[in-house]
């Protein structure tokens, strides 16, 4: 075991897999010599050579397309898209090709590609360095979509993603790279050292895709969330003095509705929290499935707390961010309903 931040945990996952499997190759803008703009791939080109860690031209569509070709020919490419906001030039390759290759060839062809990309706000990145596009990929049949909220899960899920024969969109909440974030930008940044999930095994282990986790037990209300908002929700519930059970979704597709629903059946109340815009967001899917499974146990309507339905504005990052105040308001509202 070692203390790792999320960047180190991701790096360790890549390192572990590259050592185990010569088919694993990395590609992306600035990932090679430089080690990536967030330094997730630091040192890996030096260690594994220029044929296994490829600096790519600035062409996201080209990166994903060539990753598909490599995947079809027996490699296991891990492609980095520098920011999730820049994934759209690759959208056609992801949606029309990567996601459906297995289906259209009746299982004969497939490309085991992992697409890693930093997402989410909180770094003053404005509308082009802050987006959370999980819903955009969750809606595409044939893609697995995951978002870890801590270093332990980040490493374990990334190893699972690389070993998975299906394509995985691996979303990394960049605000969590260096430490958990409790929704108070004016408070000093916290390192991962003081967080139990900052303890990460050095070698190989997996966190399987498809399983949510109860991040905190509680009896009064369930908060279903993922990514950065796991920590923000935890802090908000603490501030409000509410015993919330927090379910970290982790795997958006496939969704572990069982863990989520059994928590909601226990508490009888639920809010869904994500950073992405609310309208058409993944929260809608969560709410639909939860009400279907838990309707007779619910004491109050399920509420959603999400980013406003606007682009992420540079000057109003924290007004946009669905922070503690909005989570507490929603918690109080579901607690008061009877």
């Amino acid at each position: 075991m070692a203390i790792m931040n999320m960047l180190q945990a991701l790096n360790s996952a890549l390192d572990t897999m590259m050592a185990r499997d010569p088919a694993v190759v990395l590609m992306g803008e600035d990932v090679g010599y430089f080690g990536g703009v967030f330094r997730v791939t630091e040192g890996l080109q030096r260690k594994y050579g220029e044929h296994r860690v490829l600096d790519s031209p600035i062409a996201e569509g080209g990166i994903v397309a060539t990753a598909i070709g490599m995947g079809v020919h027996g490699l296991r490419p891990v492609a980095e898209i520098q920011f999730a906001d820049y994934i759209y030039p690759a959208y056609d390759q992801i949606v029309s090709e990567l996601a459906r290759l297995r289906y259209r060839s009746a299982g004969e062809f497939y490309a085991p590609v992992t697409i890693r990309t930093p997402c989410g706000g909180g770094i003053r990145g404005g509308q082009t360095h802050s987006q959370s596009p999980e819903a955009v990929f969750a809606h595409v049949c044939g893609l697995k979509v995951v978002m870890p909220s801590n270093p332990y899960d980040a490493k374990g899920l990334l190893i699972s993603a690389i070993e998975d024969d299906d394509p995985v969109v691996f979303l990394e909440p960049k605000r969590l790279y260096n430490g958990p974030f409790y929704g108070e930008p004016d408070q000093p940044a916290q390192p991962w050292n003081n967080h139990p999930k900052g303890e990460v095994p050095d070698g190989y282990y997996k966190v399987p895709i498809g399983y949510a986790e109860v991040a905190q037990e509680g009896s009064q209300v369930t908060i279903v969330t993922y990514g950065t908002m796991v920590h923000v929700a935890q802090a908000a519930a603490r501030t409000a003095g509410i015993e919330a059970e927090i379910v970290d979704v982790r795997s958006i597709v496939p969704l572990d509705i069982h863990t989520i629903a059994s928590s909601v059946r226990k508490t009888g109340r639920c809010i869904v929290v994500h950073e992405a815009t609310g309208f058409g967001g993944f929260g809608g899917e969560l709410v639909a499935q939860i009400q279907q499974d838990c309707f007779w146990h619910l004491e109050a309507p399920i509420l959603r707390v999400a980013g406003w339905d606007t682009p992420y504005p540079h000057a109003f990052e924290w007004e946009y961010f669905p922070g503690p105040a909005r989570i507490i308001a929603a918690l109080k509202s579901v607690m008061e309903a009877s």
Binding site: E29, D30, Y33, F34, V37, E50, H51, L54, D55, S56, P57, I58, A59, E60, G61, G62, D85, Y86, Y88, P89, R124, G125, G126, Q127, T128, H129, F279, W308, D309, T310, P311, P313, H314, A315, F316, E319, Y320, A325, R326, A329
Partner: protein
């Protein structure tokens, strides 16, 4: 022997600790490249993509067929705009370091691109800039205070706090809204030019992107549509050698020049010394005349060097030699124009120092005014409810509700 394929990986000319070697940069002597007529067919002038148009020689004289014969007054204006761009950039970088702004990107070393090209175009021409083209704003006369307010995201920000610093727009100045997504605006400029042609206007469009961004599909859409419709557009590739840590070889620069990409589409490509103010001006004038006279698009590769970090978030000492810029063979655009003017007897070191002092004071005064409209940490702020405006022309009900919720929450 059995054939064996081999994966080639482009090599940077030098990495930290190594000696920069710019022998890969093909440089023609000043005055050596012929200036074809503006109606020359693309196929006849393909060589322009492989040579390098240069006007200023080693002794700071202007020579050859591309000499634009600007009068000294115009050259002094060009010098002034370039210097102002640099001083503005330097100040904004310092303000970022002091926490007054969130982020900044300088055009250090490539100021001639924006300034000379903008001077060669008409105010009615529509410009689609990249993020290192602040010189276009300055040359078109935008007050620094206005630029600073954008960078500060303050109450006078033209973008109402929505965009990252340096992503300006200026409707009246015919400067399009800048995107943070690379290359997207290149084909949009072609569309604008097509509209100008449909309407029979005497206006052209120009757009810029970095050599790294030529990898995006949008670059190729732009060339294809420009070629098919012979749009009155100037497509500019600012080849400053680096795209963050990635060397121009990874954008395909090892095999052919970026200008040569035009040839494949039948768009004349022309390579120019982008640190030579006169050559850059002359080449742009030539391309503009072609566009205005119905001879269609031109692709210009401006060979220059990114003298500073990619942005305030970047540390280039991790991926390129410390003395890379010192050894760059095409020098500094400001210094070169200054020496040319001195040689003409139209400038002196004293006047230059005076100008720098005057412009520095102007930057200071502008900053003092700009911060009265708010900074990231102090002073007035935009009302956050405004973030719901302009998502649509008319605000739909769900956004009105959210706006009210935000205001109620804020109190």
């Amino acid at each position: 022997m059995t054939p064996k394929s081999r994966l080639h990986v482009p090599k940077a000319h030098a990495r930290p600790g190594e000696t920069p070697d710019f022998s890969y940069v093909q440089i023609s002597p000043a005055g050596a490249v012929a200036r074809p007529d503006i109606n020359a067919p693309a196929a006849d002038i393909a060589d322009l993509a492989n040579s390098m148009v240069r006007v200023l020689d080693e002794d700071h004289r202007a020579v050859g067929p591309w000499h634009p014969h600007l009068d000294a007054g115009e050259l002094q204006i060009g010098l002034r705009h370039m210097l102002l761009t640099r001083l503005y950039d330097n100040r904004m970088q310092r303000m970022q370091r002091q926490g007054k702004i969130s982020f900044y990107m300088r055009a250090y070393g490539e100021e001639a691109v924006s300034v000379a090209q903008c001077m060669a175009l008409r105010p009615s021409d529509m410009l689609f800039p990249a993020y290192r083209n602040q010189g276009l704003q300055i040359t078109r006369g935008r007050p620094l205070v206005v630029l600073m307010c954008q960078v500060l995201s303050n109450t006078r920000d033209m973008c109402k706090g929505r965009q990252l610093p340096v992503l300006y727009h200026w409707k009246e100045g015919n400067l399009f809204s800048q995107s943070g997504n690379l290359a997207t605006q290149f084909p949009q400029a072609v569309g604008w030019a097509m509209a100008a042609a449909i309407k029979g206007e005497d206006r052209l469009a120009a757009s810029w992107l970095g050599e790294g961004s030529t990898a995006e599909a949008d670059f190729h859409y732009a060339l294809l549509f420009a070629a098919v419709y012979q749009a009155p557009v100037i497509l500019n590739v600012t080849n400053n050698q680096w795209a963050i840590s990635t060397f121009q070889g990874f954008a395909g620069g090892e095999q052919r020049s970026f200008a040569a990409r035009g040839n494949g589409y039948g768009v004349p490509g022309i390579r120019v010394d982008g640190n030579d103010f006169l050559a850059t001006y002359a080449v742009t004038t030539w391309a503009a005349e072609r566009a205005r006279n119905g001879f269609g698009p031109t692709l210009i590769e401006l060979v220059t060097y990114r003298g500073g970090a990619h942005s305030t978030s970047d540390d280039p000492s991790r991926y390129r030699p410390k003395d890379d810029y010192e050894r760059w063979p095409l020098g500094d655009p400001i210094e070169r124009l200054k020496q040319h003017l001195i040689r003409l007897g139209e400038w002196t070191e004293e006047r230059h120092a005076q100008l720098a002092e005057e412009l520095e004071a102007h930057v200071t005064d502008s900053w003092k005014e700009a911060i009265t409209y708010g900074t990231m940490t102090d002073g007035p702020r935009l009302e956050s409810g405004t973030m719901f405006e302009d998502v649509f022309k008319d605000m739909p009900e769900h956004l009105k509700i959210q706006q009210a919720q935000l205001r109620a929450l804020r109190g």
